[in-house]
Structures are given as C-alpha cells and as structure tokens.
C-alpha cells in the first residue's frame, strides 16, 4: 500500500483544506474586483475623498467587508455543493443504483462486493450509467459513503475479470484517498457552470433593456468560469497511476486491466451527454483530448488523465507481455455472457402443444401451457400426457412444463399487469438480463422506461434468419413505412402499467419498428418479434449504414 491509513487521512484533509482556502480566496478576489470596478465607475469613494479621475484602491473597511462577503458566499457555496454530494453528481451524469431484478446489474453488484471484500470489507455501492459507451467512475462523500459506477456499455462488452480490474481501479481511488477530493472538486466546479449558464439565459431575455449591471455580472461570471476550470487542476494525473497499481495489488491481474484499458480507449469512451466538467471522476477521460496523450510540465498541470499508452505499458510490463501480444489476445477476445443464450425462433412449438393432466383421479384436458400456468394445483410430481402421445410422464420431465414451476412462485398476490391484446396477466421474465413483462399468449412484451436502452446495448441474443430478413425488409422499405406513419394517430392499447392509452409510433424515426408507447409512464409495448427486430436493427446499424440502407 502506498500510504498508511493515517497518512491517507492527513493527505485527504490537506487537499480538502487547500480547496476550501482556494474557494474563499477566489471569492475574495472576485469581490475585490467588483469593488474596484464599482468604486472607479460610480466614483463614490473618489468623490468622498475629494480626488477626481484617479484609480483608487478600495479602503480597508471596504476590503474587510468584501472579505466578509467572500466568507459568507464561500461557506454557502461549500455547504450547498458538498451536502448530498453523491446523489447530486449521480443525478447530473444520470447514473442509477443497480436494479436488483436485472441479471447484468446483479452481476455488477457481485463484482463490486468482491472488490469490497478485497479492500477489507468497506461497503461499496454499485451504480450503473445507462450509456452505450465504456467508462467507470468512483465517488466518495464526507460520511465515507462510496459509490462505484460503470456504464452499461462496459458491462456488456468486458469479461468478468476485466470488469473486476476496472472496479479494482475505482476502489483504488477510494482507498488511496484521492476520491473524496476529486468528488468535492467536481461538485464545486459544477455550480459555476450552472450559474453562468442560467445567467447567460437571463441576459438573453433581458437583451435590449440596457441593463449594464447584468453585463458586468456576466463578465465577472465569465472570469469565475475560467477560475472554476482552474480548480480542476488540483487533481493530479499521478492518481490514475496509483489507482492502477492498487487495482493490480487487489486483483493480482495486470493483464486484465491492460486489456480493459485498451478496449475502453479503442471504443467510444464518452459518458453520454454529460462529462466534460466531471471528467476527473472517470477512469478514462470521457472527452478524448490530445493533451492527455502528451507528457511534460504543461500537460501534467492541465490534464486530469495520464497518457493511456503509458498506463498500458506499465501494466504490460508487470504481466511480462508486449503490446503486440496484447493486441493478438484481444483479437480473439470474446466474453462469456452471464445470460443464457436463447435464439429467437419464429415459431414457439410449445405454444401449440397441449397436455392432458391426471388430477382428481381422472385425466383432464387438454390444456395449453398458459392454461396450466393458471392452475395452482399442478405440481412437478403430477402425471401428464402430451397430446398425440401415449407416454405418461411427470410434469417436471417435460422441458416446456418445467418453466412453470421455476418462475414467479408466490407472486400471486402481486398487482397484475394485463396484456393490452389478450387481457391476461403478464409474466415477469428477463430479456437479455433486463426484467420485462411478457404475455404468454401473444408473446408481446412490455418494457418499462429506461430498460429498452439496456436491452439494445446488450448483445446476448442470436437472431434467426427470419428476424434478419424482416429487419432488412423494414430498413430497405423505410420510405414506404414512413410515408404511412404520421397520417393517423392510433391510440388503441391500454398501458399495462398505468392503464392510459398508448400511442402507436415508430420506435425512432430511423428504426421503423412500430411500437405502442405510453406517454405517461414511458413504457413501451412490443408485439411479438418487434423487440427482436428492433434489436437486430440496432446491433447491425453499422452494416446497414455501409450498405446505404439507412
């Protein structure tokens, strides 16, 4: 460990203290600047002292007043931006806590818990950023609450050991003590950005009324903005190297971290719409800049992340490998999916099958799967006979029936969502790890808001030829479909979640899959195959683009 715990604590308070002094000093300078401008333009002090046309510095009483104002504003600023630190920043970048029903999120939670064990049992929270990109971040607040977050894209594209290495890196930030100062810095800098944006808007609205004071304030805010970008440079690049070292010490696996860094850097690393101001909380700068890849005093000062080449180089050195073999390894890289791979087939044969059931001392039926589902008396030990067959078997011996017993046991009291087509209750299943509600009759699925993007990002499913054909037809005949769209608003189905009418529309303009969407809760209803087709289109969008279809 680079530091003992006491040293870490001391270092932490030192950096935080610096930050605080910096903030106060900065406000004082700003207030002083305003004072100078005010005194020299309105001239009240010059008049009072009987000196005209001079450039006077403010008197010491005024300076003291400015200092007091600076202290109050500084404290207020400090207090507003450091209370509820984590929730605030997570809200800004759009991160969410893990969804316990989601297979992938459970998987991430396991990994974060493992790393928490590795650092000696300090609890870590796992959060997810719903973004296609690959990145990870760590946050810590004054109460010692620590959060590690990764993007959906990273979760789907890296292997278990690579994710473990990335999470280890983030834990490295937390245990080596630089995470808190980074989090505070980001929160402090954030307010200026927001302030100046709001003010700029206010200014625009007032334009033409000749409010000179606002212009003055705006100029000052512009200066503040510049200073706020300076705060960021409190953050040293060295901390990334240190966190890499801790990750290796925890996982004893430098190669996986090198692979992860390589994969992240060669893919798009943005964090979504946000990112620039909060760049320092991420494992890799979300906005790639030429500065990051340079060395020297200037870039050491102004960049928050060290050159990725150096980081990978150090790690490879530890693993006794060179860059070429790393690239060779990654060429054949394929991660094991945490989700059972199921191919979408065009016809579910189980749907048409029916069974006779031996119940109450006699054979009853035939029943379809969905009917058997609603029979609470049916147990795995019961005798069944498939229609058209003479062999009598236990219910658990039939693969199609086995599913009846494993799922949703004991959820009978729960509020039931109804299929908008068939009006039967929907069953909660996972689609590529994300929880969705499925109708067993018509095979349509209802996906709640925010979960469609998860499904689109994940790539566990293989598509059958028929789905591919349908997808291609949709894309190539897009004009025709689009011409049809928009002429009439169709409000047919009731939303299963909130019972309001859903509007039929294309998923998005460029993917002409017709879905029904609830404007109120944001849920989407997909008819049979529609979700598969949409996913097929999304995953193959580059191919379509090359063929000129989109």
């Amino acid at each position: 460990m680079p530091y003992s715990f006491i040293e870490i604590e001391e270092k932490k308070t030192k950096v935080i203290g610096f930050l605080f002094v910096f903030i106060i000093l900065f406000y004082f300078l700003t207030a002083y600047l305003i004072l100078i401008v005010l005194e020299n333009t309105s001239g009240f002090s010059c008049v009072a002292e009987g000196v005209r046309g001079c450039f006077a510095l403010p008197s010491w009483q005024h300076t003291l007043a400015a200092l007091a104002v600076a202290l109050i504003i500084g404290l207020l600023h400090w207090w507003t931006s450091t209370s509820n630190l984590i929730d605030k920043i997570c809200g800004l970048i759009g991160a969410l806590p893990v969804d316990p029903k989601d297979t992938y999120h459970q998987y991430l939670k396991n990994i974060v818990e493992e790393v928490s064990v590795a650092i000696g049992g300090r609890p870590l929270e796992a959060w997810v950023l719903p973004s296609v990109s690959m990145n990870a971040f760590a946050l810590e607040d004054f109460n010692g609450r620590a959060v590690i977050g990764v993007t959906e894209g990273l979760l789907t594209r890296l292997s278990r050991s690579q994710i473990e290495a990335v999470v280890g890196h983030e834990a490295g930030h937390i245990i080596s003590g630089d995470c808190l100062s980074t989090t505070v810095t980001c929160a402090l800098a954030e307010i200026y950005e927001e302030g100046s944006t709001h003010l700029a808007l206010g200014l625009k609205r007032r334009r033409g009324r000749g409010s000179g004071v606002l212009v003055l304030v705006y100029i000052i805010l512009a200066i503040m903005r510049f200073f706020s970008s300076l705060i960021r440079y409190f953050i040293s690049r060295q901390r990334e190297y240190r966190a890499d070292a801790v990750a290796v010490r925890l996982t004893r696996d430098p190669l996986s971290l090198a692979e992860a860094l390589k994969l992240i850097s060669s893919n798009w690393r943005g964090s979504g719409a946000q990112g620039e101001r909060l760049q320092s909380i991420f494992i890799m700068n979300p906005v790639p800049s030429a500065l990051d890849e340079k060395e020297g005093v200037f870039s050491d000062m102004f960049s928050t992340h060290p050159p990725i080449k150096n980081r990978i180089g150090i790690l490879l050195n530890m693993a006794h490998l060179d860059e070429k073999s790393l690239e060779e390894n990654l060429k054949n890289f394929k991660r094991a999916s945490p989700v059972a791979e199921i191919e979408t087939k065009m016809e579910g044969p189980d749907l048409d099958r029916q069974w006779f059931v031996f119940m109450g001392q006699q054979w009853q039926g035939p029943f379809a799967v969905s009917e058997l589902k609603n029979m609470p008396a049916l147990t795995p030990e019961d005798w069944v006979r498939p229609q058209g067959s003479e062999s009598v078997i236990h219910a658990y011996e039939d693969k199609a029936l086995l599913g009846l017993f494993s799922k949703d046991a004991g959820s009978g009291d729960k509020e039931k969502f109804l299929c908008p087509h068939c009006k039967v209750s929907l069953e909660e299943v996972t689609y590529e790890g994300a929880p969705v509600l499925k109708c067993n009759y018509c095979q349509g699925v209802f996906v709640e808001e925010g979960k469609v993007s998860r499904i689109l990002i994940r790539q566990d499913k293989h598509f059958s030829v028929e789905i591919a054909r349908l997808g291609k037809t949709l894309i190539s005949e897009k004009q025709k479909f689009q011409a049809k769209q928009g002429t009439d608003n169709v409000w047919v189905f009731d939303c299963p979640a909130c019972l309001r009418k859903m509007l039929r529309q294309f998923f998005v303009y460029s993917y002409p899959v017709e879905v029904d969407r609830c404007a109120y809760c944001g849920g989407t209803w997909f008819d049979k195959y529609e979700l598969d087709i949409l996913q097929y289109l999304f995953e193959n969008k580059e191919i379509f683009f090359k063929q000129g279809l989109t």
């Binding site: 297979t103 459970q106 998987y107 396991n110 990994i111 818990e113 493992e114 790393v115 064990v117 590795a118 650092i119 000696g120 049992g121 278990r160 473990e164 925890l250 004893r252 094991a336 945490p338 989700v339 059972a340 791979e341 199921i342 658990y396 693969k399 086995l402 494993s406 996972t430």
Partner: protein
C-alpha cells in the same frame, strides 16, 4: 538524587515505548481477526449456496449422483472443521469437488440454457472470488502481524505478553487463485 531521576526517566521512557508497541501490535491483531471473520462470512455463504445448486441441477443429472454426493459430503466436512488448518484443507477439497461438478454441468446443454442454474453458478463464482479475496486480505494482514512480532523490538513485547504467530490460510496449488472458471 540525579541518578534516581535519570533512572525514573529511563523507566518512564521504556514503559511508554512498551505500551505504544503493544498497542500497535494489538491493532494489527484486531485487523487479523477482522479479516478472519470476513473469510468466515464468505465460507458460510458458500455452504448455504451449495444445497441450492445441487437441488437445481439434480433433476437434470440423474446419472451423476456420486458427483453430487461428493460435493455435499465435502460441504459437510468443511462445516465441521474447526482449526484454521483443518478448515483450509476442507475448503480446498470442497473447491475441487465443485470444480468437477461444474465440469459435469458443462456436459448438459439443458443446464446451460437454464437461467436459474446460471444465476446460482454466478453466485457461487462470486462467492469463490470473495473467498479468495478475503483470504488474500487475511494473509496480507497475518503477514504484517507475523513480521511485526518477529522483528526487534516487536518480538520483545510479543514474547512478554505472549502473542503467537498466526497461521496463513493456505491454498494448495498456485493456479487456484482463479476460482472455478465456468465457461459456457
């Protein structure tokens, strides 16, 4: 008089030194014990998970009764073990039987498509990882403690108050660090 004062000062100095060394040793010892309880939690979790996994795969694997029975037996042995050395041995044996179970699971395509089994397997893999991390942390702490009570001046204090060296939680083969890597 002066000699007496010097003597008193020397005694105070030595006592002060003795107590600070003792305190730092106790702090290390507490950390070792903490680390051990971490391992214990994870081991218990594994013991709880195994019956579930066996139950989930039993229906599919009627021809593999002995593999399953061996896993259950190894689990019961591991629960009964008391000393650290016995425990380490029993847990190693359990790990190896689990490995063979996973190898068997791989031969059954139906199991691979079963989300429930997959989920249990992920849980178990995660627990294996947690065990190895907890062990790593424990061994690090034990290493630190053992070093401190062997080097001068720690050995004097440790000898006086009777701190004994702790056992490492050993693993048999070096490749075992990777918990059963289950690939489907």
């Amino acid at each position: 008089m002066i000699i007496l004062l010097i003597l008193l000062a020397a005694i105070l100095l030595i006592a002060g030194w003795f107590f600070t060394t003792y305190n730092s040793l106790v702090a290390l010892k507490v950390r070792v014990e903490n680390a051990w309880s971490q391992i214990d939690v994870q081991l218990k979790r594994r013991h709880d998970l195994i019956p579930n996994l066996v139950e989930a795969v039993k229906g599919y694997m009627s021809y593999e009764k002995d593999t399953l029975e061996r896993v259950i037996k190894a689990r019961n042995q591991a629960i009964d073990a008391s000393s650290i050395k016995d425990k380490a041995q029993a847990e190693n044996f359990l790990s190896s039987t689990l490995k063979s179970l996973f190898a068997v699971v791989e031969r059954y395509p139906d199991l691979k498509a079963n989300q429930n089994v997959l989920k249990l397997q992920e849980e178990l893999t995660s627990t294996e990882n947690k065990i190895s991390f907890a062990r790593q942390y424990y061994n690090d702490e034990v290493g630190r403690f053992n070093t401190q009570i062997q080097i001068v001046p720690g050995n004097i204090v440790a000898g006086a108050v009777g701190f004994a060296q702790r056992d490492f939680f050993q693993i048999e083969d070096k490749t075992e660090k990777e918990a059963p890597q289950v690939k489907f």
